[in-house]
């Protein structure tokens, strides 16, 4: 009897199993996401556009731009100044969340928003002739992305970064900055050479709309910038690579690389700096000003840029974010706000007790034409290129005259403002006249070049670059602010500490890297090239 039951029972089970195995054929279709693309149907041009956009800042309310570029870099470099209490960088205070913002966490920041798509394009297009130019542009862009990450943090995951899907490595090692720089130089040189004017059209290119010649000049300029970063630690390599790009770099402001933003996509596509400086998240519009140091530099030199980049009376009331259309761009009334001040009511600290203070609207704000929500974010410019060439010429007497490059850089750094908005246009006649009136003096050439680089990158609102070049060159000489409780013993920070979350997510590699930072894993520690 029992056997009988077992027989029937197992027979039924067998039949059931057979029936079901026949029904699982469509499981693969069921498990294919209907609102996504597989590798076969996808075009990497789409992800290239994303990577170009996210290099200008996070799509999630630009937390990296806000914290890395503005709260820290802009104020430490005395380009901007503020009394907002959480702008820790202005006072050299440590806010670990802010210094970690550029690196990012779970869904935002450089690694997930920039590295992930750009590494994927490079992998996706491996060995594909169909996407040769897309691939080379992606390699250049990848180098650009990593240059900034390593400049901010030092030794960082590079060779194994963004490779999660391709290698399965869940704990990328931190590469030495020296090794990263070596590879960046190699990559940029190779990719630039591999660009083919007769090759595939880079349809997703938001920078040059697929103009390969411009990309070649971009590649060479980028190579120059990467090389020049090494002047303190490895002058030979710097010189070797600078030598290679002579005559192949950008030739005018037309070659400037920038992303033009789009207001329609709200925070996803809008200009990152503008969102913050227009006060989308706080009272930045009212309380963030051009630094006293910056304005005074322009003022004392009668720089024609002063009447363009700075305005007073832009926001008259701290409670409204409506811009006053009758703001003044008269250079005479422009006034920067001192750094390191607050609203504490304590003498020596409260900006309202400073000699310069009258009202907040009387301090200069960035011109609203620079911070349009559909405005542009500059990536790399001809002016930077020329100033770097001037330094190369000065240092090693290569690539022509330092004075000529300096004059080109200075002039282009004035005329490029028109790319923000026609209202900021300064004629090349005015610029050239100014350049002629302020000629290059080789005796303090490096200071002159790098002070112009400082002014120019501040007006580009690319304060990351301002900070890196200042750390490399030491110019201009900045007087640190004195603020109680600062984290650097009163010195200007030289590096962002690693995100503490790495301790929890990539503990072993983090610990080793953190322990290896010269000067300690803090704001005062240094990256390799900043010895």
């Amino acid at each position: 009897m029992k056997t009988n039951i077992l027989k029937k029972y197992s027979l039924l089970l067998c039949i059931g199993m057979l029936i079901i195995s026949g029904c699982t054929k469509d499981f693969e279709d069921i498990n294919t996401n209907p609102s996504a693309y597989g590798a076969a149907t996808f075009d990497p041009n789409f992800t290239l556009t994303t990577a170009q956009l996210t290099y200008t800042g996070s799509i999630d309310f630009a937390y990296d731009t806000w914290r890395g570029n503005l709260i820290y870099s802009s104020t430490m470099m005395q380009g901007l100044s503020t009394v907002i209490s959480y702008w820790a960088g202005d006072k050299y205070l440590l806010n670990e969340g802010y210094t970690a913002a550029y690196w990012g966490s779970t869904s935002v920041g450089a690694y997930v928003e920039q590295v992930k798509p750009i590494v994927d394009i490079v992998e996706f297009t491996k060995g594909s002739s169909k996407y040769n130019n897309v691939r080379q542009v992606a390699r250049l862009w990848k180098a650009l992305i990593f240059e900034r990450i390593t400049d901010l943090y030092g030794d960082v995951p590079y060779s194994e970064a963004g490779q999660g899907y391709y290698t399965g490595n869940l704990a990328p090692k931190y590469d030495k900055q020296q090794a990263i720089y070596t590879d960046l130089l190699k990559e940029v040189e190779e990719a630039t050479n591999a660009l083919d004017v007769n090759g595939d059209k880079v349809t997703g290119d938001a920078i040059y709309k697929g103009d390969i010649n411009k990309w070649k000049r971009f590649g060479n300029t980028l190579l120059l910038r990467i090389a020049m970063r090494l002047t303190k630690v490895d002058e030979n390599t710097a010189k070797t690579y600078a030598q290679k790009v002579i005559g192949k770099t950008m030739t005018s402001n037309d070659d400037n690389a920038f992303v033009k933003h789009d207001v329609s996509g709200a925070r996803v596509t809008q200009n990152r700096n503008s969102q913050v400086l227009a006060g989308d998240g706080g009272q930045e519009n009212y309380y963030v000003k051009w630094s006293q140091n910056f304005i005074n530099k322009l003022k004392s030199a009668n720089d024609p840029r002063l009447g363009k980049v700075a305005v007073t009376g832009l926001f008259l009331d701290e409670n409204t974010k409506t811009q006053n259309p009758n703001y003044s761009s008269d250079p005479v009334v422009q006034k920067g706000m001192p750094n390191g001040k607050d609203l504490s009511g304590i003498a020596g600290r409260d900006v309202r007790q400073d000699a310069s203070y009258t009202t907040f609207p009387a301090y200069s704000s960035p011109n609203p034409a620079m911070i349009k929500k559909d405005g542009i974010t500059f990536i790399l410019t001809y002016a930077e290129s020329e100033l770097l060439l001037a330094e190369a010429a000065q240092r090693w007497a290569i690539g022509g005259s330092a004075a000529a490059h300096y004059a080109n850089g200075l002039s282009a750094g004035i005329t490029f403002l028109s790319q923000y908005d026609a209202s900021l246009a300064i004629s090349s006649t005015v610029a050239d006249t100014y350049a002629t009136a302020n000629p290059y003096i080789a005796a303090n050439g490096l200071e002159m070049i790098n002070t112009q680089y400082w002014l120019h990158t501040c007006t580009m609102l690319d304060f990351y670059e301002t900070w890196s070049n200042w750390r490399r060159s030491g110019f201009p000489i900045l007087t640190p602010v004195v603020y109680p409780g600062n984290a650097t013993n009163g010195t200007i920070p030289r590096r962002f500490p690693y995100p503490v979350e790495e301790a929890a997510k990539n503990g072993v590699n983090y610990k080793a890297a953190s322990a290896a930072v010269p000067g300690g894993d803090n704001l005062a520690g240094r990256v390799w090239w900043d010895k």
Binding site: K2, Y9, S10, L12, L13, G16, I20, T24, F27, E28, D29, I30, N31, T32, N33, P34, A36, Y37, G38, A39, D43, N45, F46, L48, T49, T50, I84, S85, Y111, K116, P117, V119, D120, P157, E160, G164, L170, A171, P172, G204, H261, D262, S264, G265, A266, V268, G282, E318, S344, G345, P484, G485, A487, V500, E501, A503, A504, K505, N506, N509
Partner: protein, 1114 residues
Amino acid sequence: MIYYYLLQGRPKYKALLKFIMLMKLACIMVFITCLNVSASVFSQEKISLDVKKTKLAKVLQIIEQQSSYHFVYSSSYVPVNKDVSITVTNTLVTDVLAAILNRTNLKYSVSAGGLIVISKNKEVPISGTVKDALGGVLPGASVRVKGTGIGTSTDVNGKFALNAPENAVLVVSYAGFQTKEISIGSQTSIAIVLSEDTKQLTDVVVTALGIKKERRALGYSVTQVSGETLTQARENNVANSLVGKVAGLDISSTSGGAGAATSVTIRGVSSLSQTNQPLYVINGVPMENKPVGLNNLNGNGNSGGQYDNAPDLGDAVGNLNPDDIESISVLKGAAASALYGYRAKAGVILITTKSGKGNSIEFNSNYVAEQVMDRTNWQYVYGQGANGVKPADAAAAAQVGGSSWGAKLDGSNVVQFDGVSRPYTAQKNNIEDFYRTGGTWSNTLALNKSFDGGTIRLSANDVHNNSVVPNSGLNRQSFNFTGTFNPVKRLTIDARMNYILEQAKNRPMVSDGAGNANYNVAFLPTSVSVNDLKPWKDANGNEIPYNKGNAYATNPWFAANEFINDTKRDRLISSFSAKYTFDNGLFLQGRAGRDAYTDSYKNVVPSGTAYYAPGKIVEQATKFADVNVDVLVGKPFKIDEDFAITPNVGASYRRTNVNQTTNSGADFAVFGVYNILNAKNKSVAYVASVAETQSVYGTLELAYKDIFYLTGSGRTDWFSTLATPGKDNKLSVFYPSVSGSFVFSELWKPSFLSFGKVRAGYAVVGQATDPYQTLLTYSLRSEVLNGLPLGTISNVNIPNSALKASKATELEVGTEMRFLGDRLNLDLTWYKKTSKDEITFVTTSTSTGYSGAVLNSGKIENKGVELLLSGQVLKSKDFVWTSSLNGSYNDNKVISLADGVTSNLIATSRPGVGFLQNIPGKAASQVMAYDYKYDAAGKVMLGANGAPQRGDLVAYGSAYNKWFAGWNNEFNYKGATLSFLIDGKWGGKLFSATDYYGYVFGLHQATLENREALGNTAATYYQLSADNVSNKFVQDASFIKFRQMTLGYNFPAKMFNNKIHGLNVSLVGRNLFILMKKTDNIDPESSYNATFPGLELGGVPPVRTFGVNLSVKL
């Protein structure tokens, strides 16, 4: 054995083979037990026998030879040629006879002269009806002949018919009713009335697949809770009502306010990163219940992430109306839930809703008031300000809007953020002043109707809740229809529909401060009154911010009154089942169920919000449909009178469809108009997913008398979610189980013992995964950059094309004993559960490009003990004191993670210095924080500003509690009932972000130390101290709470001339007070997320409720 050889060569069927072998083994075990059994009848003479396969006639002859007995029988009904094998030494003849005649329909009688007459046991047909006290029929009641395997169950009209031996005793039982034994004597037709039983130890429980079983037959632990215990002192989410009532259940509600989700964990966490929430099965149809949190991929709603700035959007189980629930069965272990295969890993909670009973009208009305309890214990020595001075002017006050680093509170006037001067004094009532007295009014009307051939029940319920949070609340209407029909003989049809409409108004935000009223009220400076933050907007409708130093510190009144976080749910849970039983007992059952809902969510950051003046809006529509179809075929076989065997085989199919459209907009064209078309920038997101699972399963139940029960089962699941296009990987997994129960009190029953059994079970269950985890895919964003599409990689986690289903094995042993005439009951279980090949979402460094990876990895173990001790402490004619104590202990350990992974991050606290991590060798979900940094001599190292430096990240213990206890007491005096429940949990840890911000904002009492001496740098010192050495925020989450109290009176029916059958009025209270806690400024149960405990911030303060419940039966 033929199958063995047939199947041996095919690896695919190895599992099946294993199963068959297992069944065989089970049969052998039954035999062994049977052979040991003997009846006890008085007789003097003893004999020894050793016969093998000997004819019965011969055996009787041998007995006659060895003794002075003689047999009288007729070979017409005695199977004289039947082979008998028996070995006994020095055994009573009557015992030998009993053994030989066992499992035959023969009996014997011994006459004075040593003559033994063997005669035929007469079987008589008996039929009858089973009804409740009100005359309602009870379909599906179990009717069993005591001491045998003979039994049946009542049909839809409560009728039964069976053949029973003469003078048999019938045991009639029904879930929620007291079991009754009736001697049938010479009756052939019998009307049986059962009375209701609300105590926990009902004798019939609902088990997997909705099969009702006698508790004594179960080889595993099941706890059944009757619906009545959930309805008096009710909770908005019915799952919360189980707190403290079931051993082994860890229930914690989130601080998410009205409509928030609840976390239910059974026997510890068995999954490292997938859901640990049990499967809910309503009337046999599984219901998906993923609360908001870790595994909720909805971009809106609280996900438990560090930067969450979202409300708790609730769960699915919270929609149910407790008045419709007949009973809840908690299948704790794998052996109990094995038939649910891949959905059983975290345990199963079976909910049976009420069916029509008799002709009656029931009305229940319940009103409870809700009141917040302020758990903060801040310093009130220093007031708002910075650097030890009070604000000099309005601008300064606004910049330090959230800071209590000011001067000593001296009562002098100080200008505040709004330019108004007010005394600089302590404001201790901000919590009380901000929150209002909330209330919930719940009414249910139910109609029961029985007619020839069926019963129906119709109920309607309305819940109206005003939350303690201003401008927030929850409304729910639900309608329930249950119909049971018997259209033709032997066919039973059961149709159920539950239609739910739920609207939540302004679900409060949790965690971060932006738009979160709770956060901002909790951290207001000591000298600022929340009432002075009114008005919250200016004439133009813009927020008046109180804290300009942090734009994200939204004015709490603005957050509560202007933000919108509304949800609507329109849900239909329906099921239809038909069962046909043939004359020979073979039944065929088909069941189809569908749980479908449409959710709409509207989130608005209003125009004029300080941190986002242009405003933004999200309108999201989610359509969810889960279809479950199953068939079951079975037939009870009676091998002989004592031995019954019931095989069941079945198959099921599940298909889950989800699609979600999210419209987001920003920058309102017209100020203050909140619809998507008014947004200048719009984007759309669309997510669709389909998953299918197919399963076959079977069970084999063996019952020997009512002494020994054995059940084996096997199930194979095939998952679409494991399929990878282009790859041929294994899509299926086999889950076997075996369990047995031995009622030893049938054999050995000392006077103090009224019932005793031991049980054991072993099973393998599992867990599958979400769709689309196996392939890298790309998608396009809704937004474009000047016409260029923006492509992204869709996967957040690194996909894995080699995924396989995970497995968990569990062994449990237990005993159930009743003493002193059932006055004292004991139920004890030990279990050990090991999960492996876990499909884990491993959190990775973002430098991989991804926030995590999907892996089959890790091993986790739970070991524990559950105890239920209940009984009647005092019992007299009018007074009964019933008390029950349940306790459990769970020891959890993560044995390994993925290869090369030494720790895995689960979550990060908002401040970024507290973490939850899984670490091999330690219990799951370790609360991690930074220790001091020590020098070689062990001295604390100090850094800038004299603050301690940051040391190592240290694990301070699991976020899950280890010890749980609940103590229920009920006192009955005549018609009056007083009951209370005290419950507690011990051993868990909690990272208090509230305390962290208490430090940073200068609110925490500990920040008083050295404040004067530190002067200007006090704030920086304490900020550094909080950031660098965060271990001081790791708190002991242990507590004891006075959870519930009710005082009620049952008015006797005769008071109303029996026109009203029942009237009960009760005063009820829940969460009345805390008897023990170890947290400084928070409730130890605080959590902002339903999928993992251990982190808290910015939730709704704990709420005390009290009110009245009225229940009428007409």
